[in-house]
Symmetry: C2
Subunit: 417 residues, 2 copies
Amino acid sequence: MSILIKNIVIGKEVKDLLIEGHLIKKIGYNIFASAEKIIDGSGKIAFPGFFNTHTHAAMTLLRGYSDDLPVLQWLQEKIWPFEAKLTEEDVYIGTKLACLEMIKTGTVFFNDMYWHFDGIVRAVTEMGIRAVVNSVVIDFNNPDNFKQQVPRILEEYEKSKDFPDTIQYAIGAHSIYVVSEYALGWIADFAQKHDITLHIHLSETEHEVDECMKFRNMRPVEYLDSTGFLENNVISAHSIWLDDHEIEILKKHKTTIAHIPTSNMKLSSGIFQYKKFTDYMEHVTIGTDGCASNNNLDMGEEMKFASCKAKMESKDPTMMDAETALKIATENGANAFGINGGKIEEGKLADLVLVNLNHHLMIPAHHHISNYVYSANSSVIDTTICNGKILMEDRTVPGEIEILKEAKDCIKNLLQK
Amino acid sequence: MSILIKNIVIGKEVKDLLIEGHLIKKIGYNIFASAEKIIDGSGKIAFPGFFNTHTHAAMTLLRGYSDDLPVLQWLQEKIWPFEAKLTEEDVYIGTKLACLEMIKTGTVFFNDMYWHFDGIVRAVTEMGIRAVVNSVVIDFNNPDNFKQQVPRILEEYEKSKDFPDTIQYAIGAHSIYVVSEYALGWIADFAQKHDITLHIHLSETEHEVDECMKFRNMRPVEYLDSTGFLENNVISAHSIWLDDHEIEILKKHKTTIAHIPTSNMKLSSGIFQYKKFTDYMEHVTIGTDGCASNNNLDMGEEMKFASCKAKMESKDPTMMDAETALKIATENGANAFGINGGKIEEGKLADLVLVNLNHHLMIPAHHHISNYVYSANSSVIDTTICNGKILMEDRTVPGEIEILKEAKDCIKNLLQK
């Protein structure tokens, strides 16, 4: 498939952009090329699509199911009992609902930690978005429990060899408090051998630090490092309650930080110390978390939260300027997974959005990126292209009415269970 | 004009709602009445429109003009020089652009502190939204300077007697650091005599407290109280850097707090201590501030920021639940200005929005208010009705293309000045 986008703002200039296959083939003035699809880009600007580096996509099904409770009560009385009912088919439907929302909000990639591997792969493949599907590990600190999960992990890893180009495999070890030391070591070795990305919730709450100190006499990052886990390409979600030594360890290993601004606020988890990562900004990315704690998957909104929080926490309004927020939400996420995307450049993957400059939230046009980060919401996004394929045009995603209906039916069923 | 809305969700039930003139006349099952306009409300929910209690509307013209700078540099080098160029016509155009954005984001009322009184009145009258137009006072602590402004204030006050029902008059004394003690006293007396609402920026920055202590040996609220200002109906914007005695003074006077969550974060001003106001929640309202520091006028987004900040600041995820956030952003704002609105009830003013329940951000429908506060953006708002008049239907505001064009032309002109 080839797509020629005419007269689109790229940076500060109006140009043409040619997509061939999965790639941005050419950017220039007055490109004359035959293309199967021509898009009139006038009055629009191209931005890279968003890379959401930490979510639990199918939790769209729990959007608004429970809020405003103390965290343990919220988990034990509401979230976990609901989740226990979910079948693979439910997760397939919930993930499609999530992909629909992501496409509508300009996201082209997500790193997903959730159960029912096959259901997720099926949904992602159908929806055409990029994703990292995780083998999830929770053994409640019982190595025997983990050993029983190994065949599943190996099986999922084998399946990943048949993944399309747009899907990657990772292992998602939930956290140091529900994954045994044995399992963390096994995962570290397996990942090293097979070059697998790892994904973990790390230092999300102060309680996690206290417990780790109590039982291991080490802080969480020190403990995780002792298992060899951090020798790999690791995505560390949250990463709030860190002391300077832990920050040093993460930087030494080039661990990717998935900063989760909104969920951290809504659950009162704590405040990410962005200022201490400004010299490491290239490895900071953004995730939305799942819809039970955010309650959406909107990376644009997440940019505004991230930037405003960085300014507030550091007492410095120059922190995380608009350009940096956009880079963190796009390019840095792509780089973390070795994906040749996240930038509008010749030779990069054609993962981009077209944003309507005639939308009231984009006017005046003093600074398009400022408007996109600080003023706009996702309704300014007109078109989403991923891997050279148009997933949304004129804000319409093929099949969206069916996906919404399926999700409603699924919920009705779940509530009757 | 009469409007009958059929089959609309109100609370947890599907009902009909009849508007006659400016008021909600009747809410019930199967209302049979002849109405000039019938709206099919099926698949929609009615919420009260938003009351934005602190903004500088015409600063839409400065959206994205300058961000991410140290506050003084931002003001002195960017914002003030640009503002100095604004004529009454520019403010008229900027205010119309603001009203357009407010209508599109479900706001039916705003309290505006900005120059060019007549331009603002003209814009607000045309757009049909409710507003409080302020006589703005800044005298740079020079009583002579203030005395020269008194005729203008009296003249504006006289003009306010001809305001339509939808517009109120107030005096906006900018702040204790650029309004003299003499002026604050004069304003306090004048307001007392004529029953005028007062509006002020109060304790927005730590610097303001330090300076007040240095020059007056009192904290800002103590000082303001000493002038008699707080004896009136006062809207105190920001109100961050307060000690317990100051909070007590504000509560004693039933001063309305205009909490400004996003701007306070973006400018690193500080964090509103919501927890200390939970027993005073009825008097807490929300404002967006102007578009130079937010950078939009979206009260829905502001609800999410307010609630997430309250949870973060208090380390308590039960703080400002979704219902409370909605009440703060609607009913409390109406009450602060003695407006019979902010609630969907018979006899209340017909100021309401219809929200699309089939929007992907409102699905699943576990909890409509949670979805509205935590998940949605303004694109879920289908219809905005103010004072019994439909200002937006199917997301379309009459004349919006012309308003956007006018704003673009105005900016082009200003940048050439």
